[in-house]
């Protein structure tokens, strides 16, 4: 088919004269993907837990607020959410703030936006897991805590949430894996994470196969590392006598 394989291209200095190699770009992309995944997962955990608690809180209003969040963030495609965070949010905020946002270093901007978009999108899924996890606890646990004089926030903090998190740990760690893949959408707003680097390499080297193969392998490697990590965490957090330990 007339393709000139040239794996050496990966080790060539980049055409932009920035003193890196193309492989270095890919590694940088891998680092960004990992950082983005971790940051977004933490945010998702935070947001998802907060709204999950709202949904489980014995108050119709709180439940409605949580449900609205879930509905909004689950029923709009991720890429649309990325675009809205990136293009719409600075425009609907007061002009001064919007202009300030736009003046931030672009690479920082897209990274932060990516964390927000992925975090809130995944948070909606985690919210539902937290809600279900709390609902699955025996109702006696809430009563037992209250009978000891715990206030509701203390009950959630010390009794319900710790149990809920142990139960939902497997889906929570899967979300980590899902975020690592969804993070590729960040390339659409210009973040040069792994998949963004793959495309940049195609542009600059005219050697599409080499860069795509390397980047795909990087994703598979990342996937395997995360799976191992998930197993490790799940083993660590298991309680004696529970969940088949």
């Amino acid at each position: 088919m007339g393709y000139n394989w040239n794996w050496g291209v990966l080790l060539q200095p980049v055409a932009t004269g920035e003193g890196a190699t193309y492989l270095g770009w890919i590694l940088h992309g891998l680092l960004l993907t990992a950082a983005l995944t971790l940051a977004a997962w933490l945010l998702a955990l935070l947001v998802g837990t907060a709204f999950g608690i709202l949904r489980a809180w014995p108050s119709r209003l709180c439940d409605a607020i949580g449900a609205t969040y879930v509905s909004l963030f689950r029923n709009v495609p991720l890429i649309v959410q990325f675009f809205i965070w990136f293009f719409v949010v600075p425009e609907v905020l007061p002009t001064a703030i919007g202009d300030w946002i736009k003046s931030i270093t672009p690479s920082t901007q897209v990274f932060v936006v990516s964390v927000l978009a992925l975090g809130f999108f995944t948070g909606a899924r985690i919210c539902e897991q937290v809600r279900a996890g709390i609902a699955a606890l025996p109702p006696g646990q809430l009563q037992a805590a209250q009978a000891l004089g715990f206030r509701l926030p203390q009950t959630f903090r010390h009794i319900l949430l710790p149990q809920c998190f142990r139960r939902i740990l497997p889906p929570l760690t899967s979300e980590f894996l899902i975020i690592s893949k969804n993070s590729a959408v960040a390339s659409t707003i210009g973040l040069l994470e792994l998949s963004g680097q793959a495309r940049q390499l195609v542009d600059f080297t005219a050697q599409p196969y080499e860069s795509f193969i390397v980047v795909t392998l990087a994703y598979i490697g990342l996937n395997i590392v995360i799976l191992r990590l998930m197993e490790w965490i799940q083993r660590r957090i298991r309680l004696p006598g529970m969940m088949g330990a």
Binding site: R74, V88, Y219
Partner: protein, 225 residues
Amino acid sequence: MFALEWDTILAARSIIGAGIAVTLQVTLVAIVGGIAGGTVLAMLAVSGSRPLQLFSKYYVALFRAVPLVMLLLWFFLIVPQILRAVFGLSPSVDIRLVSAMVAFVLLESAFFAEIIRAGIIGLSKGQFHAAAALGMTRYQSMRYIILPQAFRAMLPIMMTQCIVIFQDTSLVYVISLGDFFRNTVSIGERDGTLVPMLLLAGAVYWAICSGLSGLVRFLQNRTAS
């Protein structure tokens, strides 16, 4: 900046319409192809043959490890000639649409395979034995006894997955395929109305998906009672 210019949207309705057509085509092909491929993979996974089981397992693992964005780019940038050869496409076919469809079918096959496999494993061993005891071959028991039950049990999850697919088709953006979302964005970029157009796109997706999720919940409750 925020005012939707309805007349420009109206003027662009053919572009938006073409986008919707693409979105629906990709969604439909992904669902039909994904369920077909997923069924085959699930059957391989529960077949007695070790190599087939491994094939199914690694297929699913591979396609679930690679981001959809990468998959779309692979088929669009890297291997369109393979698609052409495999499908015997005429040179004038828009390779982006075919790439998107193939990428989605391959990926969704992996997802549906997991769902259907869970449905099959959820059945008691007795059902397999009962079918076999009547003299049914492996294929016949799958076709007439096991799969109908597995599908029925997994219907809500499969329907939810279909909604996810509908949302995910918007990622064809990365291969410049003009689906509903991309065409909406293009109009916004062209007319300087990106903000309202993005909000419009979000609202349309939200309305459709929350409507469909509501429908799934309704059906679920009805079959449960």
